[in-house]
């Protein structure tokens, strides 16, 4: 299998705190990789160090064979990103934001069609700020998919979505995966992780606490349910009453 994302011994310190501590991982082509962990475990920092928006103190990163810092322009033709805190120009409309994003790439997909698939097709003339939280979240997934990416990074992809919208997003991502898309995501919803992820990495205070498949996580932790396994492995086990 082709390794699309390769991270070796990534470390990032903030002042005296080590936010990311010696993380190594690989993601193969056409798979979904889930980076999990409680708030503050270092998920977003890890993603940002991988993408080069934050400077890592140590370690090597390669995405599609490129170094994200050195080959930014070439790499981001093929990579879509949805950040946890994305913002947009104050007065911009959905159509304008999509059009502007599509113009940045050589082979953009038809964003109108993508908006329809994600259930915001009727909103394209509206200002982005008038969308509901869930609609905005879906719009930012659309933006990440506009480049016709080979790899897509989705940070907390379905936060704020209702159950139906979440299922719709899963379905679209699964079908894109079948076409060869590689997905790197973070999520707080374990049902989502179970449904989508081929491999997971659980972080605990910046360190890798578990690395493997969902099934392996259940075996290692001795839990039947994945959510329980996650809580055990990430060190957040709730005491039984």
């Amino acid at each position: 299998m082709e390794e699309v994302i390769k991270v070796q011994q990534l470390t990032k310190n903030y002042d005296n705190v080590t936010a990311v501590d010696n993380i190594s991982l690989t993601v193969e082509k056409g798979t979904v990789f889930g980076l999990l962990g409680p708030n503050g475990a270092g998920k977003s920092t890890t993603i940002e160090c991988i993408l080069g928006t934050k400077e890592a103190d140590e370690g090597q990163v390669s995405i599609l064979g490129y170094n994200p810092k050195k080959h930014r322009v070439k790499l981001f033709q093929k990579v879509g990103v949805q950040f946890q805190e994305s913002d947009y120009q104050p007065e911009i409309k959905v159509s304008e934001l999509c059009e502007e994003t599509a113009a940045l790439y050589k082979n953009p997909v038809d964003w109108r069609e993508l908006c329809r698939q994600f259930g915001i097709g009727s909103k394209i003339k509206n200002p982005v700020k008038s969308l509901s939280g869930g609609e905005r979240q879906r719009l930012f997934i659309v933006l990440a998919l506009i480049p016709t990416p080979e790899v897509v990074f989705l940070d907390e992809l379905t936060t704020g979505l209702d159950a139906k919208a979440r299922r719709d997003v899963w379905k679209i991502l699964s079908s894109l995966k079948e076409k060869g898309l590689t997905v790197f995501l973070t999520s707080h919803f374990m049902d989502e992780v179970e449904a989508l992820c081929d491999k997971i990495c659980i972080l605990k205070k910046g360190k890798v606490a578990f690395y493997g498949t969902v099934e392996q996580a259940k075996v290692v932790s001795g839990c039947e349910k994945f959510e329980d396994a996650y809580l055990v492995l990430s060190g957040q086990e709730v005491d039984e009453e």
């Binding site: 993408l51 990103v81 950040f83 947009y88 304008e96 059009e99 113009a103 940045l104 790439y105």
Partner: protein
């Protein structure tokens, strides 16, 4: 090229929707023109000269939009995009920061141009103003004044950490220059000591040059304004590109 025009079209639309620049760079110069016109009409600038007060002030009126765009609009916009993490979103796309800065720059050039184009007929129709010097020399000095002022704005916007810092720096530059460089208070009416101090502003140099070329006056030492403005442009452009921060 297509990217450039899509970005330009969208960003210009957003900018107009925001209205700030429409007011400060297009409407305000016209209002100042009308007020100065009400006060001075077609009076000569002083006894024994063949040009009017309004003609003498025309360069300064053209500088209002330059000042608003370069020292307020541009630095605040770029720093706002940084603070709101819009630039961060652009960083994970293939667009180059230079292209983004150029798009924003062109928007403010458009405002300055619109202001110039609306001021000229107003002066000509209402106050019978004409150019006494050469259009070419006047437009050249207008262009230089604009580019040098916008480059200051680009530098401030490019390196200011957030909107707050940008707006402090912008205000420190904008208000003294707007008030004292001859844009609103006529340079000629200031006491001599004050004239000497405000001559150090690059915008003052630009306005004096625009005035001289518009009125067809001889410029004692054209090298000084040219050197001041070109140095400012090269320095500020260099810094803004070299030190550009996405976040």
């Amino acid at each position: 090229m297509k990217l450039f025009f899509v970005l330009l079209k969208n960003e210009l639309k957003l900018n107009i929707r925001n209205m700030n620049m429409v007011i400060f760079a297009v409407i305000m110069p016209l209002v100042v023109l009308l007020i100065l016109g009400l006060l001075n009409g077609t009076k000569p600038a002083s006894d024994g000269v063949d040009y009017t007060f309004m003609e003498q002030s025309f360069g300064a009126l053209c500088a209002i939009s330059i000042c608003a765009g370069g020292l307020m609009g541009l630095p605040l916009l770029v720093s706002e995009y940084r603070e709101r993490k819009i630039l961060k979103r652009f960083k994970v796309t293939p667009v180059s920061p230079i292209k983004l800065l150029v798009v924003e720059l062109v928007i403010y050039i458009i405002y300055c141009l619109v202001s110039l184009i609306t001021l000229i007929p107003m002066l000509m129709i209402f106050y019978k103003g004409t150019i006494h010097g050469s259009w070419l020399a006047f437009l050249g000095s207008w262009l230089l004044t604009m580019i040098s002022t916008l480059s200051i704005g680009m530098m401030v916007g490019g390196i200011a950490k957030d909107t707050k810092i940008a707006s402090v720096i912008a205000s420190l530059l904008y208000f003294p220059m707007l008030i004292f460089s001859g844009t609103t208070l006529p340079f000629e009416k200031m006491p001599e000591a004050m004239q000497k101090i405000v001559s150090m502003f690059p915008l003052t140099q630009g306005i004096q040059l625009m005035k001289a070329t518009f009125l067809g006056l001889s410029v004692d030492n054209i090298k000084v304004p040219l050197i001041v403005m070109i140095t400012v442009t090269v320095l500020c452009t260099g810094i803004s590109v070299k030190c550009f921060k996405w976040e």
